[in-house]
Homo-oligomer: 308 residues x 4
């Protein structure tokens, strides 16, 4: 098959400080569709366009951050195969039973060298999107909230970037799309990886502390929708980290902002397609500013320091 | 690997009635970059954003149409493997030697049941895109011509749709994304297939005559670029078949128009991502109009009849 | 003062065949805000962005069409002055008492040579727009319906185009912005007139029958909003006359479509600013197609024949 | 007439530190059309869409800033009338002879209470825009540079805001569209004025020092053109003050950036229409941040301090 193995980002479990406030915010401001709560009290969401039951899970906790980030794989045989490969690579894996998350099959959970918990799973109930699979109408945005297309990717911060890169490339079949180099011209400061033809399905930045979340990103359909998202944020007094601009890396347009718990989120549009025969793009240290924020060509203080 | 086998559409060889006029038109109106001519007199083009040496090849002939459509595969081992699978499936294959097309490696050529000639190849010289792989600037459109991002897909007309569908799915690993049914509710009138996560890499419509081209499509970055393309077409007196509108199938926005030889081309933007775990979308016969042209909800006469 | 006399189009009274169906349609599909009904049973609407109480009035009748089109003038002194000038020009005027239309002051009504009833008025209650005049938020579109910015202009059909042109220019102070000539190169087929710096506040086309409505137009903010409008129309099975395209005249982007009674409406975006020192643009008969529909460069049959 | 008196901003004479460098920059980066130089060595420019001979004049000087800002008035009788009214209001006026600026008629020059030099003129040679007045094609942007539609307005800083406001309203017939109040809730910090139906033709901010320029603004056609402008700026290493965002005041989208001499310029899109019957919008001191930069809801340091 032409696309196989790991398919795409499937779910992100985010820790929030006040669940009820957060449920309201992810519903009203983000425009996500609430999909119910489980016995542990976790709240589930999907976008209007996503077909699987959930993509964002909120868990009340004392500290914001990301519990885990899950990828859907092609099928159960792929799940077994990837678990075996992980173990052969020396990664300890854990099986989370089907049903532990709502409408989600068995998950293979493991930690990557940057400390983050990653999951693979093959099954999540297809509940269909807002328009269905038979003579679908176009899904016009006509409700409050940002209403992204999908939960798209995340950017994670941690120490052993090289180890995580090796694991994603060699075991999970991801390809390197872009990277930013440190002053030495050799060490990677940041890496952007894809498991499909997207400009990124996950990214990592080298950081003193492990297991940190920089942002979870949601896809929008156009630069005008990026503007609409920023207008909605302002109207709702959302704390905006970086207002509409373009990334040099991926060429995508972006807004960085914070949920009520201080988790950074992104609304993102564009980005070129990357295929495995393509050479990765490299950004040198002196141009890292343009790589991250193309218009201002400099990092803001928060980009390298504020994480959850 | 997560993406493997057949990667993407790589080249389309189009027959034109007047080569010099066509070279000028594909350069000035389409905004493609001329990449030279070969000993046979064929003219090669790529877009600014494409990295491989060529994607459109024009050959002078007495009749317009498509000579062949080629897909790039992951590597030479994949090429050998797919050739073997084609032969095992009963498909006769031919090896075209490296260099027969400019800067292109050995190709495996075969006919599909609808009569079209398809090629697979693993190597085409990476000449880089307009911005390169080191600290790239954003590539601003600032030259005449439509300037698409890439040669994106084609739609072909022929008789044995079922046979071609089976070959693309079973041998080449393509997935069915959408289909339109005939009045009987069973027979496919049209099928849209992907080898990656795009809404289509190739499509076929059932037609009395084999080996016909409906259109070759070029990707644009936004609905505003679709408008700019239509303005450029009008200014250059390009014959427009269908002015800017949206497809129900794929949700993409589109213009259909004709090159000076009468080959239909498309400029296309958008389209959702399709993964192999997703159920295909089905359009019934009574809604085929909305499937093809979402706004007017009816086919124009040319759609089903005018092919080259 | 820099802008004086006639300010802008203020209201259009449209005849509909089924009032209740029409009220629902203008609310749900057009996204207008219902503003109440009067003793005669007429239904009033405004857009979210308009500040005056109403801009669209629907009246149940046996035949579709336009009862009258009203312009707001600067103040009551201007109203008196313009009435006097109309009478001096030989135009019979009628005073409609304040309150005959909801929240609307006294109107001066008269017929123009093409047979249409035009009104001038100085007062309509300022009920404010959706965001107010104190620290207003941006008004994000987040409800169903097309949600135009304002009722923008109309295009009317009738016989004595020259007489109407003279009246609007000489008495009401309008300026000619563009015109289309007939085959003789002299006679005007169509004229576009402005009372401000817009590309058109009203337009007329020469036609065998007097007093006809070609369309009432509503302004949208962007080409993407034009696409959204077309999507909403298709989803609601609105009869579309001309799907998204660009006019050569005014350069605006457009959709022509019909309300449930067969009145043609337009959603319109763009158009350059015209000042009184600027020479009008002229379209010759052989280029009238490009003038009206820039992409296809030809008129559709309906444009010259279907009116209400 | 419906629009009379002062028509629109016509020319801005800007001081630059290195004329040759600036001519190159306004041509290549701004995408303005060079229109020649006069005997004094001043360099003239217009946009592709402007019909009058020039709108931007560059003069080499030791210090950046604005020499004067000129408005075109309806005709010579208006010019005489407005000069008389200025003198009656106690404003000293000066006549600059026709031809002192290239292709420009006699100008009436005067100073306003904030110290700025303003000019009125009735004549500037109509050289036509890029597409002409007979069967014009749409003007597709296909050249390097930002390529704005027109020189649109300016924002000036000075002390006696109240005096300048009175002069523009009472003598020149401008209308107040929006204002920002100081902490006392009474004093205007900033005022936005129009002579037509635009959201602003000129604006002023209260400032300790007189005669200062905050920015000269150029109009773009869409939010996507704002993005293209920002990309061009980055590619050309233009110093960007504020990257793409939205103003609360006027609702327009914007970029603030600096020419090579440190003069702040703006590329601007949108803004609602204002008519003289409309109440001005007021921003209170606590919401001034949202008024100026709607997304971040706070002023950057440069906005109130950096002027030329």
């Amino acid at each position: 098959m032409a696309i196989t193995g790991v398919l795409r980002p499937g779910h992100a479990q985010i820790r929030v400080l006040d669940l009820e406030e957060s449920v309201k915010w992810y519903t009203d401001v983000m425009g996500l569709k609430p999909m119910g709560r489980d016995a542990q009290g976790r709240a589930y969401f999907k976008t209007r366009a996503e077909r699987d039951h959930n993509s964002v899970v909120l868990r009340q906790a004392d500290q914001a951050g990301l519990d885990f980030f899950g990828f859907k794989v092609l099928d159960k045989a792929t799940l077994d195969d990837l678990e075996q490969k992980l173990q052969a690579f020396g990664v300890k894996t854990e099986r989370i039973p089907a049903g532990e998350m709502l409408e989600t099959g068995e998950r293979v959970r493991f930690n990557v060298p940057t400390g983050h918990t990653i999951e693979l799973y093959a099954e999540k109930t297809n509940v269909g999107n807002a328009t269905g699979c038979l003579n679908p109408e176009v899904d016009v945005i006509d409700t409050p909230g940002i209403t992204p297309i999908r939960m798209d990717h995340c950017l994670l911060y941690g120490g052993d970037l090289d180890g995580t890169k090796e694991l994603f490339e060699k075991v999970l079949g991801f390809n390197l799309v872009e990277r930013v180099k440190l002053e030495d011209g050799k060490t990677d400061l940041g890496i952007w990886l894809t498991c499909s033809a997207k400009a990124h399905d996950i990214a990592f930045v080298r950081h003193a502390e492990d297991s940190k979340l920089h942002h979870v990103s949601f896809q929008l359909s156009s630069w005008e929708q990026v503007l609409r998202a920023a207008d909605i944020m302002s109207k709702n007094r959302v704390s905006i980290d970086v207002s509409p601009t373009r990334h040099g890396v991926t060429n995508g347009t972006t807004i960085y902002f914070f949920d009520p718990s201080g988790n950074r989120l992104e609304t993102f549009c564009g980005g070129y397609d990357h295929y495995p025969d393509m050479e990765p793009i490299t950004w040198t240290w002196d141009e890292v500013g343009a790589g991250i924020f193309y218009h201002n060509r400099k990092l803001n203080d928060a980009f390298l320091s504020v994480v959850t």
